[in-house]
């Protein structure tokens, strides 16, 4: 690709772009020393471990920890204004999510529920707020990480409660299914409970944020291109409209980000609940 790059369309540049579509690519925070050997790229450790996306995930984690420590510090029987938001959030996760879905054993899973919701939520907010303007979980590696952890959690507690064989039996043979159907049901249940669950969990989170960020890019970059690069006046009007609509898309993305954090948490509880349930 040799077309001259315009300032607004970094897609066409040869250099790795730093915004637009290029924002999906991690950039090392110190000058890269990567080199090509034939078709194989060799990265230095800073290219892999010290990138902008890793940094924003770390900052997100620090913010989550700081938020919860701040909220739990100096709690009183009568909550103060400062504690209100933390208690509200904690109440929601504790009572409406964990307790309602998990039943009487919910307290053991509260830390996991609180952590996963706040970590996903704050990283999703990064997509709409300055400094980062990029939702961390549209890098699929982070989403797979959390999906695997949830998979380990619900299988772990299931095996701990029922034993390996008991758990496998419970998860693969639903009650009341005729024996003749078992050859069909068992593979389906294995597929559904052990493969589809973690894959959809990770994919759902990733795809929502990835697509959301793409839509924002389309409206903002497309609007910018229509307004400043293309010639016809009608295009400039359409570009202005697209920029206005971008605000609505940002609002939508806020909703999607919060919703996906909630869904991830609820599904985690759901899977744990199905693994430890007495009957299913």
């Amino acid at each position: 690709m040799t077309a001259p790059a315009t300032p607004f369309l970094p897609l066409e540049g040869n250099e790795p772009p730093t915004f637009g579509i290029g924002s999906f690519e991690s950039r090392p925070l110190v000058p890269s020393t990567a080199w090509l050997e034939g078709d194989t790229a060799h990265y230095s450790w800073t290219d892999v471990w010290f990138t902008n996306h890793i940094a924003q995930a770390v900052i997100g984690a620090i913010l989550v920890i700081a938020f919860w420590l701040w909220m739990s510090h100096g709690q009183k029987i009568v909550p103060t204004k400062r504690h209100f938001i933390g208690e509200y959030l904690y109440d929601m996760l504790r009572n409406s999510v964990a307790r309602d879905i998990l039943g009487h054993d919910y307290k053991a899973y509260l830390p996991y529920v609180v952590s996963i919701f706040s970590f996903v939520f704050i990283n999703n907010l990064f997509g709409q707020f300055f400094v980062f303007m990029f939702p961390t979980f549209s890098k699929i590696g982070f989403a797979w990480g959390l999906a695997i952890l949830t998979w380990l959690l619900y299988n772990g507690v299931g095996i701990k409660k029922w034993g390996l064989l008991g758990y496998l039996k419970r998860m693969t043979i639903p009650q009341g299914v005729p024996v003749a159907l078992l050859p069909m049901i068992i593979p389906l249940e294995i597929l559904s409970n052990f493969i589809v669950r973690p894959v959809t969990l990770g994919l759902r989170l990733f795809a929502n944020l990835f697509a959301g960020h793409l839509v924002i890019l389309v409206f903002v970059l497309g609007g910018t291109w229509l307004m400043f690069v293309s010639e016809p006046v009608i295009n400039k009007v359409a570009g202005a409209l697209a920029m206005l609509l971008a605000f609505a898309i940002f609002a939508l993305e806020l909703l999607v980000g919060a919703l996906q954090a909630y869904i991830f948490t609820v599904l985690t509880c759901q899977y744990v609940s199905s693994a430890i349930a007495e009957e299913h």
Binding site: W68, S72, L110, P111, F119
Partner: protein
């Protein structure tokens, strides 16, 4: 080559670098550790304290109410006792007043009758004394008179005495001439 063009058959569905995957897991585990150790216990402790405070408040209120009820009962009891006592005292006072009156009346009556008796006795004694002295005087006068008339000394006392007694008896037989 951008990420969207794909680095392999799975395109953007594989992590660009495995570091994302590992860092994501490690960060989450750190958060989980802090939340498990610090945050959830603190929140749960506050909740427990809050529930305790509310329950304790209700208990305290119940206790206070029971105490107030007991005190009220006690006051009512004391009040009715006091009323009873007052009416008893009033009754006693009435009774003792009547008794005192009766005693005084009895004493007065006794005194009156004693005075009357004493008067009667005095009158009787005076009358007896008067009769005695009269008898003696009359006897002496009569004897003296008779001596003068008879002219002889009536020395025989026994005879004299008999004469006097006969005389007196005659006088008694005809009292209207005395």
């Amino acid at each position: 080559m951008t990420l969207l063009e794909g680095t392999g058959p799975l395109g953007p569905l594989l992590p660009e670098h495995p570091s994302e995957f590992i860092v994501g897991i490690v960060l989450f585990l750190i958060i989980l550790a802090v939340v498990t150790k610090k945050v959830v216990p603190t929140f749960e402790a506050t909740y427990a304290a809050r529930a305790d405070a509310i329950r304790g408040g209700i208990e305290r209120a119940d206790k206070a109410q029971a105490e107030a009820q007991a005190a009220l009962e006690q006051y009512r009891h004391q009040l009715s006792e006091a009323k009873d006592e007052a009416s008893k005292i009033r009754e006693d006072a009435k009774n003792s007043a009547a008794q005192v009156q009766a005693e005084m009346r009895a004493t007065a009556a006794a005194e009156a009758s004693r005075i009357v008796h004493a008067g009667h006795a005095q009158v009787d004694a005076e009358r007896a004394a008067a009769r005695e002295s009269l008898r003696r005087d009359v006897g002496g006068l009569a004897t003296t008179l008779a001596e003068k008339i008879v002219g002889e000394a009536l020395t025989d006392d026994a005879r004299t005495q008999r004469t006097i007694d006969r005389f007196i008896a005659d006088l008694d037989a005809a009292p209207q001439q005395v």
